[in-house]
Each structure stands twice: as structure tokens, then as C-alpha cells.
Symmetry: C2
Subunit: 236 residues, 2 copies
């Protein structure tokens, strides 16, 4: 099932997408055609917690590297991300995003599926120069630096059996299976919820594979995850 959040004639609602029709709920009446609504980020998280460096060589600590994105950064599919003034290098990072379905505290790794509503695509937009601040607040949480979407796909049996492809202006720049994550979704959720209680709608970003690179104003970035969909955003 594809869960969407959308603006239709000025009203923000959630619904279910079947083909090109937005339904009020699963089995419910059609509200509008997909082309008649503006899709928004498919959830409205209060916490967005992210794993850094979760593909490639492990760093030897045996622990995920976590950081936060503040929710002012959350934006939807199709939206424009402003290239900040006074910045040299802005980067895309295509990622699998986990959307929490029920209160998650000290989740046992083996039962992680019980706490997940579904999965969506994320672009962990990063102002590379500003990592030098130490804590990555400007670097990761500037307005619109967290596009999510286009919808939440609830029918994902195994989040390690997906494939992420990111393109910039149609050129393939990231192309990796999610089985290459160092810490899988279950391990990440168990780790994070030892300290941080997540609530329904909260989001866990699972890290970006090889191929991260720069963006310029005018670029269009697609983050496509097999079996989920494609998140498209432009840089302005």
C-alpha cells in the first residue's frame, strides 16, 4: 500500500494511492486524481535521526554513527531546495528512509518490523563546507535539506533487498543494493531506541551509498528505490 500526504485545494490530508487515484483510505472513496493534488512529505515527523557512513568500510567502533536533521528541513517530492548563499559545495545523498508505525523504545533487533509503518526515499542534502562547524546543524538542517517521498510503501518484506539509484540531471551517480548497509534497519532501530524513543511518523535515515557528489543551482536530483518509487527535487 502507498500512503500519501497531499495538499488538495488548500487542505492537507493523508490517503492511499492506487494507480493514479488518491483514495481517502484503503478501500475508501476516490478523493482526487494524483495529478490534481500536490504531494507533500508522506509523514510529519517530530524526530529525524540519521545514520552516517553506513555503507563501505566499517570504522571499527562497532557502533552506528548518528546525527539529527531538524524537522524544519523536511520537504516533499517536487519541491525546490535553495542553494544557500556563501556555500561552496552542496551535496545529494540518496537514502532509504524508515517511517515508524508505533512507539519504539528499546526495540529488540529481531522484532524491528513490528515498529515500522513503511519505507520512503530520502535525500539527505548536505552543505559540505559547514561540517567544519563541528556539530552539523547548518550542514544538515538548513530549511528543505530533507526531501522525503513520494509516498510510504508499506509492502516491503525485506529492507535489505532493495536497490538505491540516484541520478543528477539523468546521470546515474549512486547505484547500490541496500544489503550493503553496514548496520541493517533492525540493528539501527535497536541501537537508536536504546536512548531515543521514536513515535509514529518519526523517520530513520539509513545512510547513503558510494557516489555522493556536488549539486549546482538548476540541477534535478532523482532518488529512486526499487519497489518504492522516485523522489525528485530541484536545486535553485
Amino acid at each position: 500500500m502507498r500512503i500519501v500526504r497531499y495538499d488538495h485545494a488548500g487542505h492537507v490530508r493523508s490517503g492511499v494511492l492506487i494507480g493514479d487515484a488518491v483514495h481517502e483510505r484503503s478501500g475508501g472513496p476516490i478523493v482526487a486524481a494524483l495529478r490534481e493534488v500536490t504531494l507533500l512529505a508522506p509523514c510529519d515527523p517530530r524526530v529525524v535521526v540519521c545514520a552516517g557512513k553506513n555503507y563501505g568500510e566499517p570504522d571499527g567502533t562497532g557502533r552506528p554513527k548518528l546525527f539529527l536533521k531538524a524537522v524544519n528541513a523536511v520537504t516533499g517530492p517536487g519541491s525546490a531546495v535553495r542553494f544557500p548563499p556563501d556555500l561552496r559545495r552542496l551535496e545529494y545523498e540518496g537514502e532509504l528512509a524508515v517511517v515508524i508505525g508505533r512507539t519504539a523504545h528499546e526495540v529488540p533487533e529481531r522484532s524491528y518490523r513490528d515498529y515500522i509503518l513503511g519505507y520512503t526515499c530520502a535525500n539527505d542534502i548536505t552543505a559540505d563546507d559547514w561540517r567544519a562547524d563541528g556539530q552539523w546543524v547548518r550542514a544538515k538542517s538548513t530549511d528543505a535539506f530533507c526531501p522525503l517521498g513520494p509516498w510510504i510503501e508499506t509492502d516491503v518484506d525485506d529492507p535489505a533487498a532493495l536497490h538505491i539509484r540516484t541520478t543528477v540531471n539523468g546521470r546515474l551517480v549512486q547505484d547500490s543494493p541496500t544489503k550493503d548497509m553496514i548496520f541493517g534497519v533492525g540493528e539501527l532501530l535497536a541501537y537508536v531506541t536504546r536512548w531515543i524513543t521514536l513515535q509514529p511518523g518519526d523517520v530513520l535515515l539509513t545512510g547513503s551509498p558510494a557516489g555522493v557528489g556536488p549539486l549546482s543551482p538548476g540541477d534535478v536530483v532523482d532518488v529512486d528505490i526499487e519497489g518504492i518509487g522516485t523522489l525528485t527535487n530541484s536545486i535553485v
Copy 2:
């Protein structure tokens, strides 16, 4: 005016405290006596952005040092903060907290007051060992690491004319005027909102003065700010 958020017989509401009476609103009817309600964090932020190292010697960068606290950490006056297992050193940090009153984007420093609802006390609880993670997610955002309260005081003319006193089990450990901040409230709000749009109810922590130190289970910490009130929490 003192704005409170409280639980009364299982219902969470906001109101105004006058003497020992909780009113529905300013000039409105009395709902309950203060002793009949449980005070909660006086606002329900979506973003909590914090200035680190904002008292003492400037670091020479000319910029505030920012970090985030995730909102799972927000808790109210009177609540207990759990000393995490596997941690050696937990610290209190008494701070002045700014509560945003209207959407704040690219706020001019001189007009910062227009964007502020009022002020409250914060305890920026920190797991010192876990700063070594790099990004301070566990160190700063573990559940209940952000006590706020006891209420929002809206009648503060000059946030640089206040005085912070923190006690642990009645022993004075922090005792500083807010005029000693390196970056004042107006500078901080102007800086943060160049990148991060804050919404009503969001919170800006302004840094902790000298005297930060360790906590043990059983300790009771008071953060008292002249003209605002006292935030009391226990460590368990």
C-alpha cells in the same frame, strides 16, 4: 504573564498561572489550583536548537556553536531523569530558554523581540562520555535530557538582565548573569534563522555558564532564573 501547560485529570491543556490559580486564559475563569495539576514542559517544540560554549572566552570564530536536542528529550518540571546505564558522567547545564512566538525566518537582530513569546528555564542534561561519538545525539538527546519549565514568562524586558543560579541538592553550582553570554538572544536568533525557520513553540537554548558538573542518581537539580522561576528535576 506566566503561561503553563499542564495535565489536569488526564487532559493536557495550556493556561495562565496567576498566583496559585491556573486560569483558562488571561482574564478567563479559574480551572484548578496549581497543586491540583501536573505541570508539563510549557511548550511543545518541534525544533530545539542550542548554543554551546556561549559563556566565558570566545573561541575566535565569531560564530555561535550550534547543536540540536531531539524533542523526545523534552520533559517537564518535576520529572525524573534516568541516569543511563553504561554511562560514567552525566552533567547538568542550567540555561535560559527562549520560546518562539511567531514564524521566525531571517530575523533581523534588532527586532528579535517580535518573534519571542517568552522565556523559561532549561536544563541541558548531557552524557559527557558520549560526546566522543562525534555528533552529540546520545550525549544530548537521550529521553528526558531536556527539562523545560516551570512556565513561560512573557514579561521579560531584557533577557540580558537576568541571573541564572543552579543548585544540586541545595548546593550552589552555577551563578551567573545572562549579560555574560558571548552571543545575546538577538544575535543567536538572527544567526539560527538564517538557515533554520523556527515556528511558534520552538525553543532556543542560550548556553550554560561556568560551573557545569556531574550528577548522580538521587540528586535534585534546581535551575532558577530571576524573574522567571525554578525548574526542579531529580536524577534516578
